[in-house]
């Protein structure tokens, strides 16, 4: 049972020679080669809050468990962004089309992943956000 993530970065003209980086990771449980075996599936929300909303709620007992979070801003508007914060620290800032994949350490219950559409207004329209969580032990992780 394997779930893999492959990231490719490619440019023909950002440097003097072409750049082509491709990396694959097999998503495994913490400190082992056993595959992650649980997922919340691909979720979609429409963000219209300029203040932080909880996307994924942390449980401190998940501190030593593996979890990988994928988030993508599906807006077509390049100027509309969402901020992604963990423990009140802004970790990512995703403009329209941007995505991120990070391992998630639930150091305590403050480590919930929160998102905000900081420059959203009633005239910009909602920001569609898709996300997925791949993890071990569902007892310790709750989908907010």
């Amino acid at each position: 049972m394997a779930t893999t993530a492959t990231l490719t970065l490619a440019s023909a003209d950002i440097a003097g020679d072409p750049v082509s980086v491709s990396k694959t990771a097999t998503l495994t449980k913490a400190g082992s080669t056993n595959d992650l075996d649980q997922s919340i599936g691909l979720n979609r929300v429409h963000l219209r809050s300029t203040t932080q909303k909880t996307l994924l709620a942390a449980n401190a007992e998940g501190d030593n468990l593996a979890a990988k979070v994928y988030i993508v801003n599906k807006s077509d508007d390049a100027s509309l962004y969402i901020t992604v914060a963990i423990n009140a620290q802004t970790t990512g800032k995703l403009y329209g089309g941007d995505f991120m994949l990070i391992p998630w350490s639930q150091t305590d219950t403050s480590a919930s992943i929160k998102v905000a559409a900081t420059n959203w207004t009633s005239s910009t329209g909602d920001i569609p956000v898709e996300y997925a969580l791949f993890h071990e032990d569902t007892d310790f992780l709750t989908n907010a």
């Binding site: 990231l7 490719t8 990771a25 913490a30 997922s39 994928y70 390049a78 995703l94 403009y95 391992p103």
Partner: protein, 140 residues
């Protein structure tokens, strides 16, 4: 203007009862525009010899705050092959040096960063794993 494409595919044939295939493609652009980024650090590799975030040496600086204008894209991968040989990435700008995430052997992360924080790496297990990293963005 350069054109740089980031793409990701997350796949599994047996995690769920149906095949899983998530994919996204992003053209990396300067903040809030459709103009492509033009700068990169290139792909770098370093040994992480520090076992704590408070020690004076051995940590690897992945990105220095405000080196690039927002948004800067960080790719970082733990090249260790033994499970449990973790690399911790922490925010060296914020008080208390909060840990941002942990990379187990083989794990990678890709993050569009706000760009105003310095990120460093250490390895608490003392296994001296190698880290590979790259930042793409736009000069200030």
């Amino acid at each position: 203007m350069a054109t740089t494409i980031a793409s990701i595919n997350i796949t599994s044939t047996d995690l769920l009862s149906d095949s899983l295939s998530l994919s996204a493609i992003a053209t990396l652009t300067q903040t809030g525009t459709n103009t492509g980024i033009t700068m990169t650090t290139g792909l770098a590799k370093a040994k992480v010899t520090s076992t704590a975030k408070g020690t004076a040496s051995g940590q690897v600086t992945l990105y220095t705050a405000d080196d690039y204008a927002a948004i800067a894209y960080l790719f970082v991968k733990n090249l260790a092959t033994t499970a449990g040989h973790k690399i911790y990435i922490y925010d060296d700008t914020t008080s208390g040096d909060p840990i941002q995430f942990q990379l187990d052997a083989g794990d990678f992360a890709f993050i569009p960063m706000h760009g105003d924080k310095t990120y460093k790496a250490y390895s608490p297990g003392g296994n001296d794993p190698h880290v590979e990293f790259m930042v793409l963005g736009q000069d200030q």
